[in-house]
């Protein structure tokens, strides 16, 4: 069989100015993965090496440079699977592992499980020779900038949600009588359309018919086309 290896670095809104850096990163990962595969004659080692190269690249949203969760922490998932025995290993929600793919590989090779998550996965990785790192070591400027941008977006929505609540909520505002659900959802939709045009496609009347719906929409992270 002709040996081959393909890598990707995520599908999302990559800004123009970073395209060349991303291309350099995937080229390096493909080369290091392919060389590892030819040396060890194993596809498993090839994919692990390729992903490790990308986890160590601070530009990519995995390992060092991972996206920050709502608490401002890096929380990673990783997995590996081989086609001969169809064995798989995965870790989820780990914060103290520099290369989560190595922890996933250990789950596949040294445990009877497929998926370990959270503290258990971190302890398993530490027991198998992956030293725990402080979460702050995994945070990069770029991820922090994205996180702050996301926070501002969420805060602006929450502030406007409370402004809407003051204005339209019958309890807070007695003159706004208990109008029918239909009229209220139209008003709410109008409110979102004027204040959050980019949200209004999601705030369709079927979706936003109560304050809880609006709160739910406002509290979900800014899915501005960002992906995993």
């Amino acid at each position: 069989t002709k040996p081959m290896l393909i890598v990707h670095a995520g599908a999302s809104k990559i800004p123009d100015e970073l395209c060349m850096a991303y291309l350099r990163g995937v080229r390096e990962a493909a080369n290091s993965g392919f060389i590892a595969m030819m040396e060890s004659k194993s596809a498993r080692d090839g994919v692990e090496a390729a992903v490790m190269a990308m986890e160590n690249n601070p530009l990519f949203f995995a390992g060092t440079g991972g996206a920050l969760n709502l608490e401002g922490k890096v929380e990673c998932d990783a997995a590996i699977m081989e086609g001969r025995t169809m064995k798989a290993g995965a870790v989820g929600g780990v914060k103290t592992v520099r290369n989560p793919i190595r922890a996933a590989r250990m789950v596949m090779d040294k445990s009877d499980h497929v998926l370990l998550v959270g503290e258990g996965a971190e302890k398993f990785a530490a027991r198998n020779g992956l030293p725990a790192v402080d979460n702050s070591n995994l945070i990069t400027e770029y991820a922090l900038k994205n996180f702050k941008k996301n926070q501002v977006f969420n805060r602006s929505i929450h502030n406007s949600y409370s402004a809407w609540y003051q204005r339209f909520c019958p309890i807070q505002n007695p003159c706004c009588c208990l109008s029918s659900l239909f009229r209220r959802s139209i008003r709410m939709k109008l409110y979102i359309k004027t204040h959050f045009p980019h949200l209004s496609d999601r705030a369709s009347s079927k979706e936003v018919t109560s304050k809880t719906d609006l709160k739910r929409i406002c509290s979900t992270p800014a899915m501005d086309g960002s992906c995993d």
Binding site: I14, N69, I80, G83
Partner: protein, 134 residues
């Protein structure tokens, strides 16, 4: 997220992927990357697949399993990847990307999101791209 699929000289397949998730995600949220059949799959008799994009939509579409099933029914990897992404976009309004290698060495590489950096390496070739049409 980042991912890799491989086929070695002995005809064995493997897939690996890693992600930091989505900026601003709720603590404790797991995406598709840790779930076999959603974010990834590998079977020497069929091939190997690695997905990226909206984790929640990929999980709900069981995207990797969907593509592997299409390849096992004789579909070419490229078409199987494209159809899987079309399903996710039309049915769930989800966007993402997929890389795949079939057991016979066919290549699948497709994405419905804005961009996806990729690179493909064999013994004597290295191809790479980021835009649609690269």
């Amino acid at each position: 997220s980042v991912g890799a699929v491989a086929l070695d000289a002995q005809g064995r397949t493997a897939v690996a992927l890693s992600t930091g998730g989505i900026t601003g995600k709720l603590p404790g949220r797991l995406g598709d990357s840790a779930l076999p059949g959603c974010g990834f799959y590998a079977d020497d008799n069929v091939g190997t697949v690695c997905c990226t994009g909206h984790g929640e939509m990929i999980m709900r579409a069981a995207l990797a399993q969907r593509i592997i099933s299409a390849i096992s029914r004789g579909e070419r990897p490229q078409k199987a990847c494209q159809e899987g992404l079309d399903f996710m976009r039309l049915r769930l309004d989800g966007y993402g990307g997929v890389i795949a290698i079939s057991a016979s060495g066919g290549i699948g590489l497709s994405f419905s999101a804005f961009r996806m950096p990729w690179a493909y390496r064999t013994t004597d070739e290295l191809h790479y791209g980021i835009e649609k049409g690269d």
